[in-house]
């Protein structure tokens, strides 16, 4: 058979790899900054754009979508061409993909610090960027499927199955979770409300971990690990079973992020059991990786590439056992909302994603530049710094999580909370935050060493932009019959893709459709009313400042929480007008769902000026800009119309009187502040030479905070 000559495109891989390193450094640096802010809040430099609530999303987006994302594309573009014996389908699409993705990252880096956010975790980017992501993702998909269709290899290798699953599922997740109604060019409200929004968000959030951080990297593992070890993959059967079971089961597990919340019980239970059933499929990947090294362990001790990969796969195994354990409700009751979860995700992020990316880069760069690694010694130093970094990062946070959770829950013999002041439970773990930052610093140092090593390696070699290859053409007409049933699937990419789509749709459909359609899942509470115009503005400030990054709005049905937060536990019916939901996932500060009415307006006024004035020792930063910036009443009508479109029952024409109501409510709050015997408002105005008016942002925020969780109180008074 005649051999066809063609060339692999290495240049696109090079660009993605460079972007990986650059954004890795930036993303981790932001991580280091926010880790430090947790014990030195002054490190926001008093600027709103560098305050924790705004740049925590910047950190997560940068490391997930910029660092890990670019690494994924680099790894996929290199391996896919070789596994399919074909150049990428279209160079143009490759470059649109590359530059499009970098522009999206740039847009994220600009909009997030400016406070343009949807508040939904790992989906914070606003609607125009969401559309751009969709388009670029489709470009990636066309390029991938196109390459698969013009392949010279009849069967698709397991890595390709994982790439297909990644493309299909991320597309579905992103589109469904990003349903939102635009208010302005960079502001939108989630299409879904409350419990439904939470379910969709964590279906997305959980599976972003699954299909952005896991499946593509399992695919990459299946290429780079056997390549680096020069060993055959341990078990083809295991690949098949763990691939299908993994993608089918993963999609169901989202509700484990919402245990003991207002999500219906049946959905919570599905989240738990599917997480537990996920242990074996996840470990299938780990085993196939580790057992592939059978007979090559002596080389693991010498080759930094393999060392990184072994620790990566081990960390994957640890994180995927820990995840299901955290999904068991008794354990979740302790770990949820604490730093335990932060430790858990960083074992996955730093260990699995980080280390496998480093391994791939150390392998890839010498290959593409036709040379040897500049310094194996430096790579080894990186390895040890990274490993120690992970340990020094994770252990203090595990301790912090457990210590704080037990302090939250502890009742003394007389039946009172042992630590009724939330702040006590924070100051107790501040030393752990310091340790964690040191762990992060160690890890980061390793990355810098790697960057130098890779640059030096590239300098000493010469880049092979187009690598010559040859392979016989695939004879399209030739009928291939027989083979194992799965073998047959492997040569039908379109059918394979459809099967993947079906597998990943089932779980989501079973969980979401009943939650949306069956009323009894979200019992109505008559006294729950839509927000007033001023409260809406306040809520948008709450979202802009990212308050939900540190404060939950979900009092769980535990005695320790209803006593601490002085009210009923949160009910599903209370959130029906919450577009988006703001339950949060971490309590660095106390829960705020019952904060309405708990303090007077002046307390909130003083607290936002300087949190330590009302709560000595607080690690929350001051928010002085809320006192100088004003809300824009012009936007009120747009907000109300948008919310009405997604089902909030504002009467027709309400937007015409809304600003009058807004002013009235603001005047009342301002009057209350002015009349407070403490004179806080006056002395603040005098000291800072500002004038607080009805349209000051702080007034709107106070209005929102005072409303939080109070509707249900009206109900209980009526019932008396």
């Amino acid at each position: 058979m005649e051999l066809e000559q063609f060339r692999y495109d290495n240049k696109i891989v090079k660009y993605f790899a460079i972007a990986t390193v650059i954004f890795g450094i930036i993303g981790m640096l932001v991580g280091l900054l926010i880790a430090t802010q947790l014990f030195l809040p002054q490190l926001n430099f008093g600027i709103q754009y560098t305050t924790f609530g705004r740049i925590r999303p910047l950190h997560t987006n940068a490391v997930i979508f910029a660092f890990v994302g670019n690494a994924m594309f680099a790894g996929v573009y290199y391996s896919m061409q070789r596994l399919l014996k074909a150049r990428m389908f279209s160079d143009l699409l490759s470059w649109i993909h590359f530059w499009g993705w970098q522009l999206i990252i740039l847009a994220a880096a600009i909009t997030l610090p400016l406070g343009y956010t949807t508040s939904k975790e790992y989906a914070e980017l606003e609607w125009p960027i969401d559309i751009a992501i969709t388009l670029i993702w489709v470009v990636f998909g066309i390029n991938m499927i196109g390459t698969i269709l013009k392949r010279r290899e009849r069967h698709m290798y397991v890595a390709i199955w994982f790439y297909i699953a990644t493309f299909v599922t991320v597309a579905v997740l992103h589109v469904v979770n990003s349903f939102e109604i635009p208010v302005t060019f960079l502001k939108s409200y989630s299409w879904y409300a409350g419990v439904q929004d939470a379910l969709v968000q964590w279906w997305y959030g959980h599976n972003a971990v699954a299909f952005f951080l896991t499946t593509p990297f399992l695919g990459l593992m299946y290429y780079y690990l056997p390549k680096a070890a020069n060993r055959p993959v341990y078990s083809y059967k295991l690949s098949i079973i763990h691939f299908w079971s993994l993608i089918f089961i993963y999609i169901w597990a989202g509700p484990h992020h919402l245990l003991y919340t207002s999500l219906p019980d049946w959905a919570q239970s599905l989240g738990t059991v599917f997480s537990v059933m996920l242990i074996a499929p996840s470990w299938g990947g780990m085993l196939n990786g580790l057992l592939t090294l059978r007979g090559a362990w002596d080389r693991v001790r010498e080759d930094p590439v393999l060392k990184f990969m072994v620790v990566a796969v081990t960390a994957y195994g640890m994180a995927t056992l820990e995840g299901p354990l955290l999904s068991i409700k008794n354990i979740n009751a302790i770990a949820h909302f604490t730093d335990w979860i932060i430790a858990h995700v960083h074992v996955g992020g730093l260990g699995w994603n980080g280390f496998i990316i480093f391994g791939i880069l150390y392998w890839l760069v010498p290959k593409m530049w036709g040379t040897k690694l500049w310094s194996t010694k430096a790579a080894n130093v990186h390895f040890w710094l990274g490993t120690l970094g992970i340990i020094v990062y994770a252990l203090p946070l595990y301790t912090a999580g457990v210590v704080q959770s037990l302090m939250w829950k502890n009742f003394n013999a007389e039946g009172f909370l042992e630590y009724p002041n939330f702040l006590e439970t924070v100051t107790q773990i501040v030393p752990m935050y310091m340790m964690r930052a040191i762990g992060g610093l160690l890890y980061f140092t390793g990355v810098i060493i790697m960057a130098v090593n890779l640059v030096k390696t590239a300098r000493q070699g010469s880049f092979i932009a187009n690598e010559a290859a040859e392979a016989p053409a695939l004879q399209k007409k030739k009928k291939v019959v027989g083979g194992y049933w799965h073998n047959r699937l492997e040569r039908k990419p379109v059918f394979f893709t459809v099967l993947v789509l079906v597998a990943i749709l089932i779980g989501g459909v079973v969980e979401m459709v009943p939650t949306f359609l069956i009323k009894s899942n979200i019992p109505t509470i008559a006294s729950v009313q839509p927000y007033t115009p001023l409260e809406l503005h306040g809520r948008d400030i709450y979202i802009r400042e990212g308050c939900n990054n540190c404060h939950s709005q979900m009092v769980r049905p535990f005695r320790s929480e209803t006593v601490r937060y002085k009210g009923e536990y949160s009910k599903a019916g209370e959130f029906v007008y919450d577009h988006p939901f703001l339950w949060g996932s971490k309590r660095t500060g106390p829960d705020l769902h019952r904060v309405g009415g708990a303090y007077n307006n002046t307390w909130h006024f003083n607290h936002m000026v300087d949190p330590t004035s009302t709560s000595p020792g607080s690690i929350m930063p001051p928010y002085p800009w809320l006192y100088t910036q004003s809300i824009d009443p012009e936007l009120t009508a747009g907000k109300i119309k948008a919310l009405r479109t997604v089902g909030v029952p504002y009467e027709e024409g309400y937007e015409k009187v809304a600003n009058a109501e807004l002013k009235e409510q603001a005047t009342q709050i301002l009057k209350d502040l002015e009349e407070d015997p403490s004179g806080s408002l006056r002395s603040y105005e005098a000291l800072n030479e500002v004038k607080i008016s009805e349209s000051s942002e702080i007034i709107a925020l106070i209005a929102y905070l005072q409303r939080l969780g109070t509707d249900i109180k009206a109900e209980s008074t009526e019932n008396k």
């Binding site: 290899e153 390549k227 993959v233 239970s269 340990i391 252990l395 039946g415 310091m434």
Partner: protein
């Protein structure tokens, strides 16, 4: 691999020990307010840093030692013999001997990557089955037979248990007053009891010295809801609607509410530093 796990375990133990040390340190320091918070912060920061560097060095050292010891202990024969763990691992995975690997090789070749046709590891298959069985039982127990409580019921049980505990404690209390006839106690033990409770719970809003934070200053003569013993007792017992002052009746027995009220009144005129300005109406006690 074994080196890595060894290393991790050692480091883990050391780190946990280090953390415990740190935990107790800060705990002890929190009662000693002679040093400013900032100084404390930097001392702790320095300590944390020194400890982590120490841990790092010790860990590396221990690792090296371990490696040397293990190598020295081994005879030539041992070095070639598989360990008990390796044997067990081989058995659990039903490994084919490495020499027979050729027979398992499939005719797959993807850019030089070959695939073996090994069986699924039996223990892994077992694990998968066990998790599936667990899941079925879990759903049956919670949603079909409903023999285990779901979260709402769990909450009710928790509250009921707490109530029962309290009821038991209060069973033999003798209460000879109500909110209208309550009088100030001057028994030092009872005042101390009131003080303890005040400092633990009330201080969150009223400050430990009563000077006021979110809640009003309790040390001056100005009161929002009256300053007599019956007034203060009522506020504690019933709370104040639309404020953060909740009703403590469900949680405190009458004796303790009297102790707290009496302690609050004992703060009159203490004039603590940084107290909030007067709020409410002037109340002069009748002699």
């Amino acid at each position: 691999m074994s080196i890595i796990t060894h290393f991790k375990r050692k480091t883990a133990v050391l780190l946990v020990a280090g953390l415990m040390l740190l935990g107790t340190k800060t705990y002890a320091q929190s009662s000693n307010s002679a040093l400013s918070q900032e100084t404390m912060l930097y001392i702790t920061l320095g300590l944390v840093f020194v400890v982590s560097i120490l841990v790092l060095l010790v860990a590396i050292y221990v690792l090296q030692l371990l490696k040397i010891f293990i190598k020295k202990e081994m005879t030539e024969e041992q070095k070639t013999q598989p360990s008990w763990w390796a044997k067990l691992w081989a058995k659990w995975n039903a490994f084919q001997p490495m020499e027979e690997e050729e027979e398992l090789l499939l005719d797959h070749d993807y850019d030089g990557i070959k695939e073996l046709d090994n069986h699924l590891p039996p223990w892994w298959k077992g694990l998968f089955y066990v998790t599936i069985v667990y899941s079925v039982i879990y759903l049956l127990v919670f949603h079909v037979f409903k023999t285990a409580p779901l979260q709402d019921e769990e909450y009710e049980l928790e509250i009921a248990a707490a109530e029962a505990l309290k009821a038991n404690k209060e069973a033999d209390l003798v209460i000879d007053f109500d909110e209208n006839t309550v009088t100030v106690t001057d028994d030092p033990a009872e005042l101390a009891d009131g003080q303890k409770f005040f400092e633990q719970q009330c201080s969150i809003c009223h400050k430990a010295d009563g000077g006021g934070l979110a809640g009003p200053n309790l040390t001056d003569k100005y009161w929002r809801n009256g300053g007599s013993i019956t007034d203060v007792y009522k506020v504690i017992k019933n709370g104040v609607p639309n404020t953060a002052m909740i009703s403590w009746e469900g949680q405190l027995n009458p004796l303790r509410m009297r102790n707290v009220a009496s302690y609050v009144l004992s703060l009159q005129g203490t004039n603590p530093p940084g107290a909030l300005p007067p709020d409410g109406e002037l109340y002069e006690p009748e002699n």
